[in-house]
Symmetry: C2
Subunit: 236 residues, 2 copies
């Protein structure tokens, strides 16, 4: 019987530049009465990663300044409507407003995406392993809109220790026919699942995910496995 469990890990710490995010995370785990085991996965919301890495800029609160920040964080604008921009970031992420975040930030500031979320995930994973002797997987997540469906969902920006795409090519179905939909974006499915237990307004920056199939763990990164190459893309 396959069973998956997701637990929110709350923290009251207001993360700032240079803060020890792994210590804050391990405290939150401890407060929840949980330890870490092999094949656990930790979800870390990108905002606390950005804050700890100093990806915070002044923001004067005006729409003009917001648009300027968004365009500065973008390599290309795909669509404009009013103050809304759908853009491509340096990372290759396509999202509204380039992930520039004006909620849950200190007054007069905006939070940008981490510069290299895969690298941030690898660093967090290595540091967690150093302190706990457990090699968990780490996922850094943020909230993105979708093109043809209302509402936002959380997706993965960075990963370490997880295969972001579960490759089912060569797998046969119950009738012996090759499966069609062959690569499942489990990194994004895990990110969205974790968002179901997070209450961002109430300060819940982390989640613990337990019970993932062991085949999910391994090498890979969001930049290489999930971000779609421009020439594969029918809508850019």
């Amino acid at each position: 019987m396959s069973e998956l469990r997701l637990l929110a890990l709350a923290s009251k710490v207001q993360v700032g530049r240079g803060d020890d995010l792994v210590a804050i995370l391990l405290d939150a785990l401890n407060d929840a009465g949980e330890g870490l085991s092999h094949h656990d996965l930790l979800v870390v919301t990108s905002k606390v990663v950005s804050k700890s890495e100093g990806q915070v800029v002044d923001f004067d609160g005006t729409e003009d300044h917001k648009v300027a920040l968004v365009e500065q964080e973008s390599v290309r604008v795909l669509r404009r409507r009013g103050g809304l921009r759908i853009t491509e970031t340096r990372h290759g992420f396509i999202n509204a407003n380039a992930g520039v975040d004006l909620s849950n930030t200190e007054d007069g500031t905006a939070v940008l995406l981490p510069k290299n979320p895969d690298q941030s995930a690898r660093r967090l994973r290595a540091e967690i392993a150093r302190r706990t002797n457990v090699e968990v997987a780490v996922l850094i997540t943020d909230t993105f809109g979708r093109v043809w469906r209302q509402g936002v969902t959380d997706v993965a920006l960075g990963s370490a220790g997880l295969r972001p795409l579960l490759d089912l090519r060569g797998t046969f179905d119950a009738n012996g026919r090759l499966l069609e939909a062959t690569e499942v974006a489990i990194a994004d499915e895990i990110a969205g699942a974790a968002n179901l237990v997070l209450h961002k307004a109430a300060g819940t920056p982390f989640a613990l995910v337990r019970g993932l199939d062991e085949s999910f763990f391994g090498p890979g990164s969001i930049a290489e496995d999930i971000v779609r190459a421009k020439n594969d893309d029918l809508f850019r």
Copy 2:
């Protein structure tokens, strides 16, 4: 402590037209040693819904026939590449190949999407309540691609008893500022989460989801809440 649990419910039954899907589902629950409680949610993959509703057509195995079926199921073709079509279905879903499914089907057949997945979900929910006296939420899910990210994820096609969009408008963040990303597509996040425990090749058509926040339950439908109106859409 917010904790979410997802359990796969296996079934060896090959579902056919007119079969009692609720009986098959309740048998699978029983085999897993689980009962139903208030605020449980059941995920039902769309293929077994389609099969029980007779949404199965002959398929001669050729690429030409596949394309013909896809175009017949579509109201509009957005993009073409080789045999691939990105189309809009009658329901307003935009996906590769209009959800026409050639894997895990009987030889010589293809499975189409349910005609009205919200209605199917409502019917399943009512029938489960009639037999068990428990009003669970029901989600009918399928596998869709995404525009700018590699890999497929499961999304919700139909729902009953769940608010597909969690409306956070009017919610303030920890600093007293209004939250920006205001409507979370929890139906799709739950669908993707459930896919993490399903093993479709091995016959796992159902999942039980436990521990969702009670604010998630209520009225709504995928057609009304999730499918984006064409004039709201920047990419159609």
